[in-house]
Each structure stands twice: as C-alpha cells, then as structure tokens.
Symmetry: C3
Subunit: 235 residues, 3 copies
C-alpha cells in the first residue's frame, strides 16, 4: 500500500482532494493533501514560489512521511518538481497530473497562450492583493466541462484567489532534470489545455496513464481519479 501526497493547483486548496482521498483510503492507501502557503481561504496571499515549495516540504518533513508518491495537479506540478529537488530521498515516484512541467528557467506564465497571458496580467493589476481570480465562465467551460452546472458552481465556491507571484517566478530546475526518481504523467483526455505530450514529453522516461474527463475530475469523477492515481503510482 502506498502513501500519497496530493498537491493541488492554482485557485484550489487541499480540501479539493477530500473525495479522492476517501476512495484512496478505501483501497487501503494513505493520502495527505497539504494546502500550499498563500492558498486557500482567509490567508495572507503574499507568497512567492519558493515559499509555496517550502510549505509542502515542511508538511512532509513535519509528518515524517517517507517512500511517498508525490502528485502535483496543474500548477502543483511546478511545486512537486522543486519539492523533489529538496527532499528527493523521501519520494518513491512523482505523478504529474494534467500538470505543468516547466523547462529550466521558465515560469508558469511563460507557458501561457497570449490570451491567458493578457487576461491574468490585467486581473492581477486590478486586484487589491496581486492575485488572480478565475472568471466563472472559464471555470465552467474550460476547466470543469464534464460537470453539470450545479457542480460547476459548488466547486467554484471552493476556489480562492490565486497569488500571482508564484506564477511569475522563473524556476531553476537544473537539479530536477538530473533526478532519477520514477515519474508518471496522468492525463485526463477532455482537458483542452494541451498538457500531453507538450508538457509530459519534457519528463524523458515516464509512465503514461490516461482517463476520460476534464481538468477537474477531483470534483467530477473522484472514484476513477483515485483508481488512476493508484495505477500511476504503483511500483
């Protein structure tokens, strides 16, 4: 049985994984879902990428978790790459789940299409605290396209405004790219974000696991997601 640590993406916090964790535990696994520093409701959002990473490192070290399967969703992919650099000896496998795999020296923002680039810059400038809230229309149509409107709304209510700095910070990933930790890419095929093979191929040797569904199957299909996480994370 495995120990999973699930790292959420932008706008999410650890609570997004609750249904998935329930199903992982029902299959006999342990699973943890830290909330990244500066993320979640009612917290100080003045964080950079290094502080985000450190908060997940601290969580794993404080709980003394070892032999873990570390999964990162979307923006969380950039976190687990840096966590792996810091405490790789605690990690059995990395799973990138419809996640960014940044090139050395790149930021998340560097990978955006020009459309999103401009939109997010504008939203950050207009905010009080240099954060970006995802417009509901984009959430409903692009992120959670496989849900009904009720679930699209209830899951949107769980989101919170995303600190912009971690999306702008350019990451030194030289060490990540020489790590020999095994890697999987879990890809939901109705997510129109162009993740695979654009991002996945940067991993070199990796295990591909696919399932139907949107970017947000932790809300729309946590049962299948848990099953695919187990497949992506085994041995």
């Amino acid at each position: 049985m495995s120990t999973f640590v699930l790292v959420h993406g932008a706008w999410h916090d650890g609570s997004a994984w609750e249904p998935t964790i329930k199903h992982l535990e029902a299959k006999g696994h342990r699973a943890f879902a830290p909330t990244i520093a500066g993320h979640g409701k009612g917290v100080n959002r003045n964080v950079n990428h290094a502080q985000c990473t450190q908060s997940v490192v601290n969580y794993i070290v404080d709980k003394d978790l070892t032999d873990i399967v570390l999964l990162g969703h979307s923006f969380g992919g950039t976190i687990i790459a840096k966590v792996a650099e810091a405490i790789g000896d605690r990690i059995r496998r990395l799973i990138f789940f419809n996640a960014f795999v940044l090139n050395d020296g790149e930021s998340v923002k560097d990978t955006f299409s020009p459309n999103f680039h401009g939109l997010f810059d504008k939203l950050a400038r207009e905010s009080d605290d240099r954060t970006v809230m995802l417009p509901f229309e984009i959430w409903r149509e692009v992120f959670i396209n496989d849900a009904d409107l009720e679930l699209a709304k209830s899951s949107y209510a769980q989101l919170s405004s995303q600190p912009y700095q971690p999306l702008i910070d350019k990451l030194d990933l030289k060490q990540f790219y020489v790590l020999t930790i095994p890697k999987s890419y879990l890809y939901c095929t109705e997510d129109n974000g162009g993740w695979h093979p654009r991002m996945s191929s940067r991993l070199g040797l990796f295990r591909l696991v696919q399932m139907p569904g949107s970017h947000e199957v932790m809300f729309s299909n946590p049962v299948s997601l848990a099953e695919k996480i187990i497949v992506a994370g085994r041995d």
Copy 2:
C-alpha cells in the same frame, strides 16, 4: 429541458438524425432536424451557401423556435455559424460536432487536404449537376469506420449527392467571430479528420466534449451521441 436543432452535414439530410432525436426526446428534450436546401433526395441541387443558410433560418423562424441549442455536424458547422449571425437572439448555445469552423473568408474546400481537393473537383466536373457523390470506399473506411458492413451500406443508401457550390463559397464570418453565444465542440475520437484541435481551437473559449466513435455516430451509436449532445448543450 432544451430545444435542439440539429443541422446535418454534406451528403446527409435531416432523416439522419431520427434515431438521435428519439433518444433526445426520451430524455425529455425537443429536437428538430431540418434538411438544408439543395440536400436530400429528389430536390433541385442548384444552391449556394447563402441559400443553404437561409433555409435553416426560415425553418427556425417559421416554427418560431427560441432559446435553442443549435448543432452543426461536419459541413453543418459552416451553416450554424452563418445562422448564428442572422438570428443569434434565438440561440442559447452552438455545438460544433466534428464540424468545420471556417476562418473568415475561407471555404470548406480551402480546408481540404490536396488529395480530397483533387478528387472532389474531378467528381464535380464529371457530374451532370455540379454535385459530388462520396465514393462508398471512403464512406466505409474513413467516415463510418466503427460500423459493420451492413450498417455502412444501409446508411450509405440514405445519402445523396452533395451540391458543390456551398463547399466552394468563401464565407464572410467577421460577425460570427464577435458573437458571444456560448459554444461547445463535440468530438468523436475515432474520426480521422483532424477536427480537434485544428477546427475547435478557432472557437476561442469553448466547452470540449468527447466520445469514442467515428464521424457517423448518428448511425453507429445514436444513444451515446444523444447523451453527449445533452452534455455539450446543457446550461
């Protein structure tokens, strides 16, 4: 419950949707399937694209349908884009179903691969009435690859020769590209036509819905198609 208007593609007529409509109605929806002017058996095929569009506009206005979900299959995608320009206030959402999404100023023919380009030109020249009939071999292997031979033959018998002019007419789509009507792209993944993301990405913000199957699931899998049309068309 929704009101669907289903616009067929080249060689088809409205009768192709009968099994799909039955399943949509069984789920409590209303669904209509006009035959585009110049299409179907035993009609005058001397039509251009504007006349095709006008016939669908007339159908919707004559029946006074409002708040509709307007779906276009294949060539039908070019029709619904122009219908949306004409009577956008009657349309709640557009669904492009393995459909052409033309750029402003483009014709369907402009998007063909050189192979099809030459073949269709030749067939149109050789015909009595400047139409193109799809060779059975292409229908069976490329269009309805998920059916058995019997269904491939019986569905082929429902087809009729396609007027060539609507495929050649270059469309002014400037107005379409500023419409704010929500859009979905429904994509059957065993259709080898390169529709997604080549065509879908032209829509800008859109909802992606996928299902297995060929270009012709209205014949080979109308039950699943109806379910996916409902998902693509909700809210």
Copy 3:
C-alpha cells in the same frame, strides 16, 4: 469468419499472441502466429530484414493460407508491408497495430528519436551477437504502462534479444505504396510512441480503430484486443 495471421514486433515471438488467439477462436475465427526468423528464444539471430520477411512468407505459403487478414504489431508492420509485396494475392486486408509504416527507403532506426537511437546503437555494440535487449525499466514504464508489476515481469521474461540488422535495413517500399489491399490502423491510445497519426497517415486511405491501453495489450488486455482486431479486420 476470418483467417488472421498475427506478426509480432521486436523482442517478441509468436507465443505473445496465445491469449489473443484464444479469444479470436472463441469468436469463430482462425488465427496463426508465426515467429519471425531470428526471433524467439534459442535461435540463430544472424538475420536481415529480407530473411525475416521470407520466413513469414514461407509460413503462409506452406500452410497455404489465403484470404487472410495480416496484422503486424510495431516492428511487425515493416514485415507485413514486405509480405504484402510478395504475396498480396493471399491477403484480404492489412492491419497495422501500433506499428511502423516506413517510408520508401527508410529503416526502423531512421524513425527513432535521438535518445533511442543512441541507446540502441550502444546496446548492439556491447552485445556478443549484434542484438539489443530492451532494458526492463523502459519495458515497464513505456511499453507496458497499463500492467501491474507482476505482469510486467512475467511478460518481460517472454522476451528475447532483438537482432539489430532488421532495424537498420532500409526498405524498398515502392511496390507497397501502389498496392490496393485495404488497410486498417489499430491504435492503443495509452501507447506513448507517437504512432498515430505520424505512422498511420502514411497509409493514405485507411480504417482507424482505437482502444485504450499500452503498446502491449496482447499481454495486458487480450480480450479487448481480440475484439478490436475483429473490428479492424471485418470486410
């Protein structure tokens, strides 16, 4: 009912098809699985591509098989193209199953990514008999990513070292590209080898059939594979 001849890929031998053949036979079909010359355990591995092809031609002629559906998996795709040139009159349809479709004058090695190119050259140089054994890590992560570790190991034990010369030989395929034998491409969508549409599109007119799964579904999912082979091979 059809007569299938299933041609294995590199490292495999005919025994890999046993579970698939069982399911094909249960559906009333006949199926044969020759081992290509120089392949399988305990044989002389000093063969070139022409000898590989000749061994399959001989198998089919010796058994006097006619009206066959000839399937090639992976490297086996290069064999069936040449077999079709030699005895096309015995073949009703070709199925390329996550298989190489080489351009005229190309070798398998010519299609490798630079990574694999260097690795295989090195392994061949280091071997006693100019063969290449696939490292287990690549087998487990890239080839049979949909299996559990136990099956990954037991199937790996069935493999044997691949003669390198047949992967290097450049093939004259001018005759293949004018054959009118119908063709299908069967594509497992979790095989991260970039087979479709890169290889499939070279076939011109072909029938696409897809299923979920890895490059090695003959081990991980022979039931579904048999069903899809029947679909790919019918009429």
